[in-house]
Amino acid sequence: MSVSLAQPLQFFDAYCGIGICQQPQPDWIIEPEKLLAAMDHYGIGKALVYPNYIRAIAPPERGTEILRECCRISNRFEPLAPIYPHPYPDLPSVESQLERAKAMGARAAWCNAVSAPFTLLTYGEIISRCAKLQLPILVEEAGDTIAQLDRICESFPSLRVIYAGGSFRSDPLLFPLLRKHENIHVCLGPAYIPPWGPMRFVESFGPKRLLFGSGMPRCTPGGVVGHVAYAGLSLDERQLIAGGNLERLLKEAWL
């Protein structure tokens, strides 16, 4: 099957960090302007971005401000709003965090497991609200994420999930999870690059549950772009993976 395209795919990156962080490496592109230039090089039109700042235990409120500031620079950045579980009543409630997310135009939430492990117990209230709002949540692999997602999605089957940070060895765990919970979507890349491209995934689950994810700034996106561009799939299927699926998920959010 020839896969050559008349026009490049429209990539919408589902997994990208932005802005300052505690210990950037020399090759990380974290400044919004430089990130835009990198996106141009790799053919990425838009990116759903989280603040690099709070991948460590930095103050979450400041992280959200940084995200807002970065997203103001270009409408090619779509904010992935961090939503935190707070154990104390004097800290921002889930409702107030969702209101703040709405105010910045967010249509997806980041359940960042840095300050609280991603479990039904810790994130239950957040998950309940996100499920009702059809607000997709992005969660990253943290060792037992797939097992936690299984429990969470049993309780909240309508929850829309974007699972990121898998590897080329994830399928034995991931495929049973995907068979059981139809609202779980998967970021293709940066290391979730199983052999034979995305074709085996699409054979099992169709083209609507895979999303392109660059892994910037830690990773360079060229490989994942090639993985999608050269896939032995129809143009429509590749466009869904490149960006169409993420567009749809964000459009369907009610926030």
Binding site: M1, S2, V3, S4, L5, A6, Q7, P8, L9, Q25, P26, D27, W28, I29, H41, Y42, G43, S167, F168, R169, D171, P172, G189, P190, A191, I193, P194, P195, W196, G197, M199, R200, G215, M216, P217, R218, C219, T220, P221, G222, G223, V224, V225, G226, H227, A229, Y230, A231, G232, R238
Partner: protein, 261 residues
């Protein structure tokens, strides 16, 4: 004006010159189920990969002769698309020379593959392998990881007329170690096969050692061939460097076909 390799890749077009993949496998790793040979060849066609040199997964894990036969069988099924490495291991010293002699009676074998298990590459146990390679001008690909060359560089120094290729160069942030070794040794080359694409890895490695010391492999059957090709095709390198890596170096080291203009 012809499109750049980057523009080609964004349009999913095959590379305009033949690419050679010098690090691939036949067989299945546990928990990673690769596609059939036919699917791999179809993916090679989409990318413009003319040929790949495969070693057997079974051989890596100790079933050496059977694994090498499996690699040869793949070459028979797809002549001039698959070429083979003879895999040998110092864990089976009595088999080393005999297995090399046996394999290289078949012209589909183009190089020697070794894996990092127990015996360092500069152990005298491996000397017979390096001498065989040197005498027959065969390239040697070794699995290395994370900057731990386990003597592969020292073996290259002792056998200067054989070409040594360090696999997974730059893995786990270790590119400066690999670059230093390749700069020091004219017969040590770096293979880019790696499941991750850490920021700037391609540009850093090539910038440090020059494209002439870098070769491309996919580790196909372990992970995605297209991903590994995209890393180079879309890298922030000029097209001449990309062609050197994807075509010129493997043609020179393995003797594939004729060099294109």
């Amino acid at each position: 004006m012809s499109a750049s390799l980057r523009e080609n890749a964004l349009l999913g077009r095959p590379c305009p010159f033949p690419i050679f993949d010098i690090h691939a496998h036949v067989g299945q790793f546990s928990g990673i189920t690769g596609p059939s040979h036919s699917c791999i060849v179809a993916e090679m066609d989409r990318l413009g990969v003319a040929g790949m040199v495969v070693s057997s997964v079974e051989a890596i894990y100790g079933d050496v002769a059977r694994g090498n036969d499996e690699a040869a069988k793949a070459c028979e099924m797809f002549p001039n698309r698959f070429w083979a490495y003879a895999h040998v291991t110092a864990q089976q010293p009595a088999l080393l020379g005999r297995e090399l002699e046996r394999c290289f009676r078949n012209p589909c074998f183009k190089g020697i593959k070794v894996y990092q298990v127990g015996v360092d590459y500069d152990s005298p146990a491996f000397d017979e392998v390096w001498a065989f390679a040197q005498e027959r001008r065969l390239p040697i690909l070794a699995h290395t990881w994370g900057g731990n060359l386990t003597g592969f560089d020292r073996a290259a120094e002792r056998f200067p007329n054989a070409n040594f290729i360090a696999g997974h160069a730059g893995s786990d942030g270790s590119w400066p170690i690999y670059a230093a070794a390749a700069k020091r040794l004219p017969n040590l080359y770096l293979d880019l096969t790696y499941s991750r694409e850490e920021a700037g890895l391609m540009e850093n490695l090539v910038g440090a050692v020059g494209a002439e010391k870098v070769v491309w492999g996919s580790d196909s059957q372990c992970f995605s061939l297209s991903h590994q090709a995209g890393k180079i095709m879309l890298a922030r390198l000029d097209d001449a460097a990309k062609k050197t890596i994807l075509h010129d170096n493997p043609v020179r080291l393995f003797g594939f076909g004729q060099k294109t203009a």
